[in-house]
Symmetry: C3
Subunit: 351 residues, 3 copies
């Protein structure tokens, strides 16, 4: 593990280097704890005071701070240091990974009718069912399940114990974290005359476009008749539930514990905060941000930030306020009554 | 895949057919996108305008719309088209499935003391532990785990990677979606003198009656001393948590991301909306509907619909209103004071 | 299964025995349904009326109730009957378990470079990757996955289908319930110029101290650069999400469906109620209790109980009150205006 020189880094990722191009860095470290082996970054100019304290071998700085230098004398000035860090982090990551070795573990179960690229890798105890297609560069982690006729696009990674149900389609470079389930049955039942649920066969599929990432133990239902569709570059955190027939536009991100109900449509470039619930059969415009733990019960037509969450308070205060919330529309009526009374009182005095 | 004639459909599922009994349909399609190969349905009379637009080979209509016909001239009139659709969807589903083949995959691990019906199917990498009993028609999906002495009733389906813990009991025709866990330990600890948690062995089981479905990655804890009991026909969506000693009555449905705390009792024919939290040791009557994202912190004794969720607003408005919520009981006091002042002012004027 | 005599119990667990030391009990039972084969307990003195009704062979009572006796005449008086019950439940549990048998199932996949203690047990279809270390007494359940270089401390239990990602560290006596995932990638992306997410390689690990329990299908992300750290004795219920770089202090408990956002710090001896959401980059002091379904959006510096949740009401009332919540700061302004008007009215009258 010899690391990278600053010269190598700038040659590939751009930015303007000030200092010694031969300085070698072995890893990325947080600015507060970086040492002489590491490179660090600072994305917010208002934290510039930290530059002088950093023991890092080099630092990635916003172009706006041009002229500032850390004790090491080495800096890379970039338009967006956070983005620069992301790209550099991937480079270091690849350096440290064991080389990707294609092949099929002898203890994987692959149906003879499945088409698995010779350039794909299938680990122990993985199952690939009949008719499934696995493209080049795909890594099917141990104990993962790829259902009948499912399609996994090039360079996708199924972390151990993830599941792709029958017929579902993943684009290129998708990532399923462990325990993720794509293509579970949607929650659809009719009620018979006695009120018992009669299952509606869920025959649509789930389609993930390219570059979608699905977090650990998150679930994406297949469609009932039509499909569930997740757009290019959508990022889904852990323990998120996406119900049947949901559509999510490109590059939208959903934080942990979000639940999206059936047939909801979410636009592109949205950010859905942690724990948010989205009701069914509504639509959210592009560029909408929903604050954590909010319930979206109606369509949101305009971009912007929206929130709905009861403010935290001491339990004692909360109890008193919550009791009052339950009388709120009566309070409103009492205010209205006071206003009327006061107005007539004034009129009386004037006359 | 030759599909079904309308005559065949009506012969089995009932309803009144108008049109050509020999018309053949290959699938069910949504009303808006159906073509000549498909049958569709319309459940709400107020959407009747869509009938004239539909290109479907046939349409299932409410009996109340008797007399209306789509361009194809083929309609089945049924009391409940949505229920009709559900039953027909199951029929099409079975037509398309590969025939159920009983048997034990050579790479399944089945303890010699387990009793697995010769008419059951156990897929690769599934584990059936000592003393477990698997009835006829059961499908244990790949990588599933059935613990010691657990019992799986006839025709139940364990989708890949689902888990049934030791001793737990599933009735007939239960379905566990992938990643579902039945029989995890409940969350029970005493605190020792230093405040450390001392685990309470969870020795009850989880009992699922017939026709229960559990969604992907949902969890149902075993009981602490007594059992956790899920009634006949209960339907549980994805990512739902059912804690120890909970009891749920027949035909209740729980939408995604619901959490039910320990020893709560939920009645029959309830509907618990997505993301709802139910506190422990309370009871909910039969026929209760809880709106999404609500917290049920006290027992609910009367059927009906209940909700508690902060309304969504622009973030700026929310911030102002949320700040006011924290002063709410003081506002109430100020209103009361205004009322008193105004009353005495009036009294003064009268006297 | 011959059970335990009261004499044996008191000899090991302490407490003061009144009655027949040779009375033998076979199990612990709830006070209401206990019979002559069982021992039960009563922790709250105010429920003392139940003592006279209990058919149990013996009862564990609070020392404060010294003098009271059940019909059986057998009681153990303990400072904390609930804690006593917890310890006794573990004892009964061990009595009933098949003896722990170390060994490696022939259908487990263990990399030759992994160090697995001869005193550990690895079940069928488990995977232990290169460089991993498994200490004595560890039970790796069927289908579990231990990633490259991960470390599992002595006597820890990985229930079937749980996952420990590469490099992550579990202390001694940790328990992962089925489906738990430790070491999934954190949710970290930069945005490129077009707004697409660029993944930040997550190179930190997750470190669980001794005696940590993680519930079924819960997820704990690895750190981005630094580590995610879970303190000694922390208990995590089912379907809980812990994001990257979170730190949780010793003996804190998190109930089901909690979500903790990135870099949040939670103190020791806290209790986080079910469904709570904790925003990122904040800190919660030691000894804080958060009521169920609350959102913690700012740091909490003082111990105590805090809550924020919209109160449940009939749906009709909720609709009216929720509408008023959205006008709340306007109501506040109207109250202020009324106060001013009334004050000037009074002034007018006085002058």
């Amino acid at each position: 593990m010899d690391g990278l020189t600053l010269e190598q880094i700038v040659a590939r990722l751009g930015g303007e280097l000030v200092g010694n191009p031969q300085t070698r860095v072995e890893r990325i470290q947080p600015i507060g704890s970086a040492d002489r082996t590491g490179i660090t970054f600072l994305s917010r100019p208002k934290l510039r005071a930290q530059i002088a304290q950093s023991q890092a071998a080099a630092i990635i700085l916003p172009a706006a701070l041009k002229g500032e230098l850390p004790p090491s004398g080495n800096a890379i000035f970039a338009q967006d240091p956070y983005l620069y860090y992301a790209r550099l982090s991937q480079w270091f990551w690849r350096l440290r990974q064991p080389a990707f070795e294609a092949g099929r573990h002898p203890l994987a179960h692959i149906d003879p009718s499945a088409q698995v690229s010779d350039l794909a890798r299938v680990d122990a105890f993985a199952v690939i069912e009949a008719g499934a297609r696995i493209a080049e560069g795909v890594h099917v982690g141990s104990g993962s399940h790829v259902g009948r006729d499912a399609v996994i696009g090039a360079d996708s990674v199924l972390h151990p114990r993830s599941v792709v149900g029958w017929g579902c389609i993943l684009g290129a470079r998708c990532v399923l974290q462990s325990g993720a389930v794509v293509g579970s049955d949607g929650f659809g039942y009719a009620r018979d005359a006695e009120g018992a649920g009669v299952k509606i066969a869920q025959v649509g599929i789930a389609v993930l476009a390219d570059d979608v990432e699905v977090g650990a133990n998150s679930t994406i239902d297949r469609g009932a008749l039509d499909n569930t569709e997740i757009g290019t570059g959508v990022k889904i955190d852990n323990l998120v539930q996406i119900a049947h027939n949901v559509r999510i536009g490109a590059h939208t991100a959903l934080a942990g514990c979000v639940g999206v109900s059936g047939s909801a449509q979410i636009g592109a470039y949205c950010f859905i905060g942690g724990g948010v619930g989205i009701a069914g059969h509504l639509s959210i415009a592009d560029g909408v941000v929903i604050g954590g733990m909010s319930l979206v019960s109606r369509s949101v037509h305009q971009p912007g930030m929206y929130t709905g969450a009861f403010p935290l308070d001491t339990h004692a205060n909360w109890e008193r306020n919550a009791a009052t919330v339950r009388q709120l529309y009566q309070l409103r009526d009492r205010i209205r009554s006071l206003e009327h009374q006061l107005a007539s009182l004034k009129t009386d005095q004037t006359t």
